[in-house]
Symmetry: C2
Subunit: 200 residues, 2 copies
Amino acid sequence: MAEFPAPIAKLIEEFGRLPGIGPKSAQRLAFHVVSMSDDDVKKLIEALLHSKRDLVFCESCCCVTDHSPCFVCGDAERDHTMICVVQDTRDMLALERMKSYRGLYHVLGGAISPMDGIGPDELRLTELLHRLADDAIKEMILATNSTVEGEATASYIARLAHHFENLAVTRIAHGLPIGGDLEYADEATLARALEFRRPI
Amino acid sequence: MAEFPAPIAKLIEEFGRLPGIGPKSAQRLAFHVVSMSDDDVKKLIEALLHSKRDLVFCESCCCVTDHSPCFVCGDAERDHTMICVVQDTRDMLALERMKSYRGLYHVLGGAISPMDGIGPDELRLTELLHRLADDAIKEMILATNSTVEGEATASYIARLAHHFENLAVTRIAHGLPIGGDLEYADEATLARALEFRRPI
């Protein structure tokens, strides 16, 4: 009988399905919900409903947006000859916060990860190839994460794009982060930083 | 313009209010919700609604339960002369999983923590004192956490209960965890383990 009451067990299960929420966090969240005011729970539920109802994927770059085309694709002043390929809408927004890139994006919706059952078909590659077929695109910057999955995805896309003759395919630079101490950098980063050293 | 679309910003804000969810986790959760199927979001919302609607606090021990009195308080075969005071329903369920304690519980709903604005009035102390006033109660075991807040709460309750003459007030034991290596124990635990050593 020392089990969780059914409604809370169900809520723990649902929270546990979310990414980065382990069994203990799910329990803590579920019990927190029980102690929240009805009003606060209503706000959370409304935010969940709204985000499902009011958000769409941009018809062009596939980012999560409240109107399609998104604020980048719909901006005639952006450089429509460059596409920066990222895994996630958050990556795109991180690059946008930098305020210096003026090209377009393409959001893949993940990275190839056989362990998680994500193959090329789960990513928005057909849409990407369709956009690349447009002669206006001159450069594709592969800005997937520097993880095994991100690197594999970048290589895969580079191979796919091989036959677009007038398209330059580039990868964002890897090396020491700015402001970082050399002695604290991990070996893989240091190895990259040395390998891709450049003349000054 | 590199901000999150309004519906997702709202959802990030709501997730960020939950305990243990920082800004980055809130973003990850919010974007995950957008990529979830409508059906899965519906399940999460229903679990939230049900847990608010179908759970109550036990009229006697104040634990979270689906029916009041809870399965402990409503069980005539339990030892109704002992009350084990815990901070949270999860603590009570952890003790229940042990299957050896046969007494009752009292769930405070937290611990005294001036930093978080939780004073004695925010805890279910009036209910506890009301129960202690019943002559049937012979022992109160203080099983609040071994944190600064938990210890302060235990001391506070012990002082409050001082005038109940026939009530034994005890605190759960502290020392080395079973199966734990002495060399890995922290200093505070070691100090307690030495201080409360007992003859064998």
